[in-house]
Symmetry: C2
Subunit: 358 residues, 2 copies
């Protein structure tokens, strides 16, 4: 992890959200679920969702919606108009992400999110009640996402295209999570299974390349104006950036500081997640090494397992791959004739993905 | 339960769906989630969803979408045009319902749906995997519902109104389920809590009055044409019908045949569901009776608890209330100047809600 704090601070395009965006997000959730229309349980449910939304998060996807919108404005020659027309779509993207995080934590058995502890879901009336509350929190976020997008002040053709992209974004989120689950193997059954570095990279392409990076950018761009020949270059910027974001996420799980990430350390190992760094370690170990790693995982010896993964050189290889992907992403910017200010923000975001410590 | 089998057969408007609608439903799910675009897990996930969709279900909500559309056509004076323009919205309504059923069964710990057994969700890697698969099945249905609605061949203003209604339908489904959870009290803590006959009726108004009856009708009507002064009469038909549907559902759980319902007997008692019949029983019992019911529920003596509920006269009272609601629903039809054929179908549906044994 880089020691220079400036290198890991959020880039301006993300830091911008800390204040204004959160107010907008909370305002929308409360306004969209009045108790008078949706029954006595609606208010507390909305309040819980707002608490989760405001308890942290990098606002990466909303920032990308905004950057996509500004790109579309500059390159579609439509500067002017409503400068904030992308905000409802950014709220929608963040709400879908909240939905995904809540469900992911349930599927992974993760207890900690944004430094907050989840009530334990499980069998028995109390556990099922906790499960129900967490599911309904996710459901509310998912429905509201849709309603938020409809508030975007855009021409019908723009909104129709935004809806199409938003549908893809959500399908990719769900199908990406299904592929994640397919490749996840409980510790007791590792090594083996379908987890190869190539499968892990394909998964990252679906989950973060498309869902977390390209679709939010495309969503913003769709609201700004019709697609132009610059759209493939924006895609070439987004896809490797999103995959690199996943790789650095995996590395943070292995080597990061839980006080910064807001997640328990070594959660991916505990949960049998199909990370690229684990796939690379399995790929580098011989039969005896794999059996040793399997024994450590089976025994719940997480720090020892992490040390063995580290000793294979897999983290360095994953970091190097992330570096190459970010370089490719930054190179794609040369094909986008944008203003220096916007180019700088896109470039800064790419640099941050590599340098981040949270 | 009525002994005459003809009285409990599905009315024609529902039976119609047995063939054509199911084909349409399955075709849409497969078409919308090609493996080539959404990764290796998309195909099996879609196939599991289709299996669940085709394994049963009364198709009540899709039928109501169709009836609402035909009502809108007749009373908006727009007969002619695409007679099947409502089908995508009916697919959407059925997909939202599949989503709700999957999640409800998770929250309730119900093991059986449409005669199919769910894999047990719970703690540990295997249980969390089962949970994940069930959640993603629900998520896929929820996203696809949205995409299905967009396929409705309707004018932009019609589709916009349909989207608005569909947003309400989904918010009411989520907030209704949250209220259900709030009123659900584990057997060990009954009696007491917030469960009164009035609270149970308010819950039914949200969950089945609005979500299951009025919104599907309104959705179909919205696609057919602009609202007219007949819309309140259609609402007056739908709301009591939907509440009555919930009451007969509660009675079927208590007294029905699991071979017909596809659900385990006495599931509501086991799961502490806030049914009207239980609320009415609690209301009718004195302190000693409530303590006895509480002891039986705590001990898991479900048949004895059901017998005690029955002895209070609560089932007869709930059935009488359902009868009054259905009568009110049928009376509202007099204010709708519809063709005799359509009136007959709406009336037949109301009669079936009271007479049904599944």
């Amino acid at each position: 992890m880089p020691a220079d704090p400036a290198a890991t601070a959020l880039p301006p395009s993300l830091a911008f959200f800390a204040a204004g965006f959160d107010v907008r997000l909370a305002e929308f959730v409360h306004r969209a679920t009045p108790r008078s229309r949706f029954g006595p349980a609606a208010g507390p449910l909305a309040a819980r969702l707002v608490r989760l939304l405001l308890s942290g998060g990098k606002r990466l996807r909303p920032a990308l919606v905004g950057l996509g919108f500004r790109t579309g404005q500059e390159l579609g020659g439509r500067a002017g108009g409503d400068e904030e027309a992308w905000l409802p779509a950014a709220v929608a993207a963040e709400l879908v992400h909240a939905f995904a995080l809540i469900q992911d934590d349930l599927m992974d058995g993760a207890h900690l999110r944004r430094g907050m502890r989840w009530p334990a879901a499980g069998p028995g009336p109390r556990g099922r009640r906790a499960l129900g509350r967490r599911l309904l929190l996710a459901d509310l976020a998912f429905v509201l996402a849709d309603l938020a997008l409809e508030e975007a002040p855009a021409a019908p053709a723009r909104l129709a295209e935004a809806r199409r992209v938003f549908g893809l974004l959500r399908l990719e989120a769900v199908c990406g999570q299904a592929e994640d689950l397919r490749l996840s193997v409980p510790a007791a059954r590792r090594p083996g299974g379908a987890l190869t570095p190539a499968a892990a990279a394909r998964l990252a392409a679906l989950k973060t390349g498309l869902y977390s990076a390209w679709r939010p950018l495309q969503l913003g761009a769709a609201l700004a104006g019709p697609a132009g020949p610059w759209l493939p270059a924006l895609r070439a910027y987004a896809l490797p950036l999103g995959i690199a974001f996943q790789l650095t996420d995996d590395l943070l799980d292995l080597q990061g500081d839980p006080a910064r990430t807001g997640k328990a350390a070594l959660g991916d190992l505990r949960e049998g997640k199909p990370t690229h760094v684990l796939a690379a370690a399995l790929h580098r170990l011989d039969g005896e090494g794999r059996r040793r790693l399997s024994r450590l995982l089976r025994a719940g010896a997480w720090p020892e397992a992490a040390a063995l993964v580290g000793a294979t050189g897999a983290p360095a290889a994953t970091r190097a791959l992330a570096g190459r992907l970010v370089a490719r992403s930054r190179a794609a910017l040369a094909r986008l004739p944008l203003s220096p200010g916007l180019l700088g923000e896109l470039d800064g975001l790419a640099a941050w993905v590599l340098a981040r410590d949270r």
